[in-house]
């Protein structure tokens, strides 16, 4: 690499650099304890996210392929980074009061969150299995630690341990798949892989094996059947803010690389993986929807709900084509708003000795808090994909992509399962509006949490009513090389 290429590479990765430098600075001030430092950590992490976002949008435009083809800044990665900034920013907004309630207000929290963000950004920009893997591990390691952040609570420790062990196994499987792909194609660079696979040999048994390993590794990350078992335990045990973050950020990052690897590099081998992914998608939706019905803890219920949603998003991958990719992207963006909205309200319920995690805790919520109950109703109906909310448009667009490619049967299965899923969302609405309250509500409502709820509600309603701009954005950000 000559000096010009290095400079171009550095310029292209300025957002990542900002986030990492920001995290390092926070790391240095984090050990300093004191009253004034809590807000300072909060504001500086928010500032880091905003600065990185500004840099990312400044770089958007022409695709830049840098670091010897390992790293790319294209519209696709910019779109996903926007999703990550949104998820991280909202998570930071929800955090301060909750951290105090759980007695875990330490600077490392924000540091790890920012490092996780940088990992996800590298995943979205990675154009080489190696850089993707590095990003994925960076993100995963931070999340492992954050999951176990409530040290004094066994549930949190258990979740972290489960997550780290299962996560490492899945990473190992993914690495093994990578090595097989490298053996077959002689490259780890995605574009070269597509070219190597395109020249025949699509039915190589080794390739089938490699595909299975890659799918397995990534399926774990998105929490799809049969590698979903960690999701409920980890979601329940982790601090709620981290659960919220995990359900939208890392999941979106995993989908970003699923799209890149399977619809770009592995597109020539589509007939191998499409059936596998379709079967996984249906099983995932079915399991998530049915098991969520019997949950009594709202975090576990949302874990199964997120499994069901992951299944639905996988259908967009099955559909493929520009609409398939765009539908996945739009879905993930909308999912950030509606899912974080719900989590913001759960976080608000955590106050004093009240955990706010039992679904029954929401009984009679509408009586004393009309406005918040109405917002929660909007989020729940959006998750249940009832128009005119954004959740409906997200599902609708995936159905369009599916039917366009002729998968009408899958579309029918998908909508029937989402009717099942609607049941457990509207059950919460029922509790809020149609039951008497068991205890008075004591809400931990801070200005920053209010802002987070306002943003998520605006997104959920706004995208639902005027989806056009967001749809065009997603369609315009589909990566090149797809036909």
């Amino acid at each position: 690499m000559d000096i010009d290429a290095i400079i171009l590479s550095v310029i292209a990765s300025v957002p990542e650099i900002i986030v990492i430098v920001g995290a390092c600075v926070l790391l240095m001030i984090a050990p300093v304890r004191g009253r004034r430092f809590g807000p300072m950590l909060f504001w500086s992490s928010l500032a880091t996210v905003i600065a990185a976002a500004a840099a990312t949008f400044a770089l958007a435009g022409e695709p830049r392929l840098v670091y010897s083809g390992m790293f790319v800044v294209d519209d696709f990665s910019v779109f996903f980074k926007a999703v990550f900034y949104l998820a991280t920013g909202l998570c930071v907004l929800m955090s301060p009061r909750y951290l105090e309630e759980e007695d875990i207000a330490r600077g490392e929290y924000y540091v790890l969150l920012l490092f996780a963000l940088s990992g996800m950004m590298i995943m979205a920009s990675g154009l080489d299995l190696l850089s993707i893997y590095v990003g994925m591990e960076l993100q995963a390691l931070c999340i492992y630690v954050l999951t176990g952040f409530i040290r004094q609570e066994r549930r949190s420790n258990e979740a972290a341990l489960k997550y780290v062990i299962l996560g490492s196994v899945s990473s190992g499987i993914f690495l093994y798949g990578m090595s097989l792909v490298y053996g077959i194609t002689g490259t780890t660079q995605l574009t070269d892989m597509a070219a190597a696979l395109g020249s025949g040999g699509a039915h190589d048994p080794a390739l089938v094996l490699a595909t299975v390993f890659l799918v397995t590794g990534l399926i774990f990350k998105v929490g799809a059947v049969p590698l979903h078992m960690w999701v409920p335990d980890v979601y329940e045990g982790a601090p709620t803010t981290i659960t919220a973050f995990m359900s939208v950020g890392p999941k979106a990052a995993a989908f970003a690389i699923l799209l890149r690897i399977f619809l770009d590099a592995m597109a020539p081998a589509a007939d191998i993986w499409v059936v596998v992914v379709a079967v996984i998608a249906v099983l995932t939706m079915a399991l998530g929807s049915f098991v969520a019905l019997v949950q009594t803890n709202i975090k576990r219920m949302l874990a199964y709900s997120s499994i069901a949603h992951a299944g639905f998003v996988l259908l967009g991958l099955v559909a493929g084509g520009p609409d398939g990719v765009a539908s996945v992207m739009l879905y993930l963006l909308i999912y950030v708003f509606m899912n974080l909205g719900i989590f913001a309200i759960i976080i608000m319920m955590r106050s004093g000795n009240v955990s706010g995690e039992a679904i029954e805790d929401y009984a009679g919520f509408a009586k004393s808090h009309r406005g918040l109950a109405l917002l929660m109703l909007i989020f729940l109906f959006s998750l249940a994909s009832i128009p005119p909310t954004a959740g409906f448009f997200a599902k609708f667009y995936i159905l369009v992509a599916l039917v366009e490619q002729g998968y009408v049967g899958l579309a029918v299965i998908a909508v029937l399962l989402s009717a099942v899923a609607a049941f457990f969302y509207i059950r919460i609405v029922m509790l809020m509006y149609m039951k008497e309250e068991a205890q008075p509500f004591d809400l931990a409502l801070t200005p920053s949490l209010r802002l987070a709820i306002a943003i998520t509600a605006a997104g959920t309603v706004g995208i639902g009513l005027l989806p056009s701009w967001f749809l065009d954005l997603a369609q315009g950000s589909v990566f090149l090389g797809i036909s």
Binding site: F392, E404, A411, V415, V429, M430, M434, L471
Partner: protein, 488 residues
Amino acid sequence: MTDIPILSLIVFLPAAGAGVLLFMRDDRTVRRTALAFTVVDFALTIPLMAAFDTTTYAMQFTETVPWVPSLGITYSLGVDGISLLFIFLTALLGWICVVASWEAIDTKVKEFMISLLVMQSLMLGVFSAMDLFLFYVFWEAMLIPMYLIIGVWGGKERVYAAFKFFLYTLAGSLLFLVGIVVLYFQGGETFDIVTLMKGDYSFTVQAWVFLAFLVAFAVKVPMVPLHTWLPDAHVQAPTAGSIVLAGVLLKMGAYGFLRFSLPMLPDASHYFATLIQVLSVVSIIYGGFLALAQEDVKKLVAYSSVSHMGFVTLGLFTFNAKGVEGAVLQMFNHGITTGALFLFVGLIYERTQTRIIADYGGLMKIVPVYGVLLCVFTLSSIAVPGTNAFVGELLVLAGAFGANKAIGAVAVAGAVLSAAYMLGFYRQVALGPAVAMGGRGMWDINAREMAGILPLVVFVFWVGLYPKPFIDILHVSVEHLLAQTMGR
């Protein structure tokens, strides 16, 4: 045509009213404001009726604004003769619902009125949407306010009823959604209803889409065997909820057949016609027998709805002008008559706090005005000549005999059944010696209640004695519809 987007105004005025209500505190002002918005909305439909051109089948008062251009989705509204009648009916029942809830709803009045007004907007939207996607959005969004109306302000078993209503309708509608998306691609990537009607689809596509639509519409109508949500929902819903359900919501299923299944999927409609006719007749007879056996007034009226809506679907699938016109008229009549019957049940329930038929007796002696008016609607429900339902049912039966004599003969028996259960009900409730009834005491119809009832009485006799204006509005649109259904 005009520069004022009158349809948008009619559709969104109630929603705007709901927005205004958000800022009110006093229950009295809330009621008055809700009434004002619904009455003005109704008043707006009168110039719409007056300016409507009955000589063309083309959509009128159209408005089109791109909504999601990259998917060909537009915000587009328009009416033809068929939808105009339903917009009028919906707007009429809208303010009657507010009047009916004046005293019946005494908790969370503001929330109730907001739900009712939002519901009103969405229903008007369904009947005026000319874009299939927009139609679906209105259609499906109705679930939210209706779920709340039944579940929050309903009777004892309201939560169960609300869930059942929600899930039945949702499962049906989602299949409808897949059908819509399939049509979208088959019809050249457009959601425009008029364009989709002109499409030429292969029989296989038509058959599958028809079945998907059938589930959604049959749940809404409701048609046996998908009717079991209806008695629960009706019985548990508050009076206004029952009026909306019976008066407007049930019509949407039939409207769906009329607007989508028949013109867009003509071959499949003919292929499945016998199936639908048989199901309709089963609904007529089965619903009638169930009504005969009910002890609860609301259940009786609910099952009579199943029976009456059977006539509607029967008429639609005769594919002749008499049958279809009769069916549309029957839908309008059913909205008036059953809406009124639910209103009457609500009124008497407010007084006595019981809905068991056997608890009543001799109302004619105690509250003569109520008794006489109830008699009018009872006779209308039986379809006695001179009342509105007679015209509709006669046309439907004439159409049915034209299409299939056996089916027609069985349907006539259903008309007899309705006389049996309605007259039995009326005899027990209104005639005979006066029975002491508990509750909050008895009083006859007061002025406010009368204001809600009188317009309905007017329409019972207007349609019954001089149906020509209504048939004129329909005629050209129905002819065009039949041409579309037969043309290929």
